[in-house]
């Protein structure tokens, strides 16, 4: 057993080193277009893995992830905006705020924290609901947040949005946060807390009768998910260097849901796979769409693929299973130490 743990650590560290080397090579050789796609992959891993906490592991189907992204995005954008841009755009804000420029990493974390702080009262309200009602209520949250972003002129500049941000998001931040998110989500899921989450998902009445504090588990999962949603929103804002209300639309929530579903909600590595596939595929499809001048085709293909997935492979690519790279190099494969979640 001890050697298994040691082996896991070695494989994990080796994987990290490999990732760093690959990113370094990519950073040095690829042009801006491909770098941006790679950054997007990192950002979407953050978003999908965090959405998995609620939609996948706890079974609370939320459509509000883009709302938390918007909160994180706007917060961080306000905090990092260069002074020159600020004087033009935020003249109505108090003077002390106009002079406070936060470094990007701090702004990202603060964006996540504010999203989590909003998620607390929101969760207290919407998590009384389940299933479809929760989905529509969280969709409502997204529409409410978007309305505020579109109308709170002194702070968000309404439809004009905030622009002139520094392009702070690079490969290292995107994948750094992706690694942190995966680590946190993995540790959460493979802990007593995570077992409670899965119990709540599979049968909340039975879980409650065995002493699981159902509401608290769901609330914590919701807040954690919101935190990383906020972080992802901040990363996205600083990649685009501008932020307007349509950025955080229902389309964005929908894209992340597709990533989660195709990868397999209930699998952390599935989220990573889903995020990678569904970042690259639309890029290729959009390219084809432009070349053949067929507007809408990329969305049609993605939507049709989603429906086909729901009919023929509902559990997504990975289902509840995980990839365990540490077992790939063993002579005799041990049974994967996965969470013993029953099939849905």
């Amino acid at each position: 057993m001890k050697s298994t743990i040691a082996r896991k650590t070695v494989v994990l560290l080796g994987g990290l080193v490999l990732l760093v080397v690959l990113l370094g090579v990519a950073d040095a050789t690829l042009n801006n277009y491909y770098l941006r796609i790679l950054q997007l992959i990192g950002i979407y891993i953050v978003l999908t893995a965090s959405l998995n906490l609620t939609n996948g592991f706890t079974g609370d189907f939320s459509l509000g992830h883009a709302a938390f992204m918007a909160i994180g995005g706007y917060t961080s954008a306000l905090l990092t905006m260069p002074l020159a841009a600020r004087a033009l755009q935020l003249a109505e804000l108090p003077v002390w705020f106009q002079e406070f420029v936060s470094p990007f990493p701090l702004a990202t974390v603060l964006g996540g924290i504010l999203a989590a702080l909003v998620a607390l009262p929101v969760g207290l309200v919407v998590l009384r609901l389940r299933g479809h009602y929760l989905a529509v209520a969280t969709l409502g949250l997204l529409i409410i947040v978007k309305s505020i972003a579109s109308n709170w002129e002194p702070v968000t500049r309404g439809a004009r949005g905030l622009s002139g941000l520094n392009a702070e998001t690079n490969l290292w931040w995107a994948f750094g946060w992706a690694v942190i998110t995966i680590f946190v989500v993995w540790r959460m899921v493979h802990s007593p807390f995570g077992r409670s989450m899965i119990a709540v998902r599979d049968d909340s009445v039975a879980a409650a009768s065995r002493g699981v504090h159902v509401f608290r588990i769901r609330l914590v999962a919701f807040i954690m998910s919101a935190f990383f949603g906020g972080v992802g929103g901040a990363l996205l804002a600083h990649q685009l260097t501008a932020i307007t209300p349509p950025t955080y639309s229902f389309d964005l929530t929908f894209l992340i849901v597709i990533m989660l579903v195709i990868g397999g909600s209930g699998s952390v590595t599935g989220s990573v796979i889903g995020a990678i596939i569904m970042t690259i595929l639309p890029v290729i499809l959009r390219d084809l769409e432009r070349r053949f001048e067929l507007p809408g085709v990329s969305q049609i293909i993605i939507a049709a693929a989603l429906i086909a997935f729901m009919i023929f492979r509902r559990q997504g690519l990975m289902g509840n299973r995980e990839l365990h790279p540490s077992t790939w190099f063993m002579k005799k494969p041990a049974t994967p130490a996965s969470v013993d979640a029953p099939q849905q």
């Binding site: 309200v125 609901l129 299933g131 479809h132 929908f254 849901v257 507007p295 049609i300 939507a303 729901m310």
Partner: protein, 298 residues
């Protein structure tokens, strides 16, 4: 603020509310039986508006066709959607159906983009219908009158059908308990199909009314009204047709009231207001006005 202004807002609210009611009926019937929020419902309305626009632009055709043909075509469309996308998912977890309906919604929107164009186009009614009639200081258009009449007639017909016909009885039984209905030999697929056909037909009619009201149509116009109509169905009590009508009308009046009676700087928050209303209803009276309660069991 005169009494006339208040009555005027009420008329406008009733007109919008009638359209929500038409949409909400389809959503509530389907949800009642399948526990499915059909996110594509609003997009069927959009298709109805486009079909209707073909007949409106050819002005020779009487207005009746511009209402009737989309109603029939969208009814068929609804059945096709049900049979191809939702039927394979019978017995699947409700989340799978929810995701599928989001996919269907996307598919319909973008197919419209591909087939026509993403650009909005004008939907102008023949002059007579938009002419205003002044009754005691309150302005009606003939369209408003047509809307009310149409909604009332359709409502009466639908209620009679659901209460009197065999299919209607099958639908009510399936809605009460799908498994039990199946056990006693009711063809539940027939009942589900009927719910989709009837609901989609009403969405087709709603498409004509919505487009006439706002004068502009685009491929993405249906999603938000569809979701708002679900809010209306929840307010009325999901599964109840009477509730859907009352909820739709209440929501329309509340939304217009919000815009009409608050200072103009609030009007940007009208969508936020609708969903805040949903949250309040769900918390205070989760089963809506006419809904039966659902108990969570192991």
């Amino acid at each position: 603020m005169t009494i006339n202004y208040i009555l005027q807002q009420l008329v406008n609210g009733l007109a919008l509310g009638s359209i929500y009611a038409l949409l909400a009926i389809g959503l509530t019937m389907v949800y009642g039986i399948l526990r499915l929020i059909n996110f594509a419902h609003g997009d069927l309305m959009m298709l109805g508006a486009y079909v209707s626009s073909i007949f409106i632009s050819a002005t020779v055709v009487p207005i009746l066709l511009a209402v009737l043909i989309p109603t029939l075509l969208i009814a068929v469309m609804g059945l096709i959607v049900e049979r191809t996308a939702y039927k394979p998912l019978r017995g699947a977890p409700e989340v799978a159906m929810l995701i599928t309906s989001l996919g269907v919604s996307r598919l319909i929107q973008n197919s419209t983009v591909l087939a026509l164009s993403p650009q909005p186009r004008a939907f102008s009614l023949p002059g007579d219908l938009t002419k205003t009639v002044n009754v005691g200081g309150i302005r009606f258009t003939q369209l408003d009158v047509l809307t009310f009449l149409l909604v009332i007639v359709l409502m009466v017909l639908l209620t009679l059908y659901i209460n009197r016909s065999k299919t209607g009885m099958a639908m009510r039984a399936s809605s009460e308990n799908l498994q039990a209905a199946r056990l006693i030999g009711i063809n539940v697929n027939w009942a589900i199909g009927a719910a989709f056909v009837l609901g989609s037909a009403l969405a087709g009619t709603a498409g004509f009314l919505w487009a006439s009201r706002y004068g502009i149509i685009d491929p993405f116009m249906g999603f938000l009204p569809g979701v708002k109509a679900f809010v209306a169905a929840v307010i009325g009590g999901i599964g109840s047709i009477r509730g859907a009508v009352v909820g739709g009308v209440l929501l329309g009046v509340a939304e217009i009231g919000f815009v009409g009676f608050l200072p103009p700087e609030f009007s940007g928050y009208r969508d936020a207001f609708v969903f805040s209303l949903l949250l309040i209803v769900l918390l205070v009276r989760p089963n809506g006005l006419f809904g039966a309660s659902e108990v969570e069991r192991a």
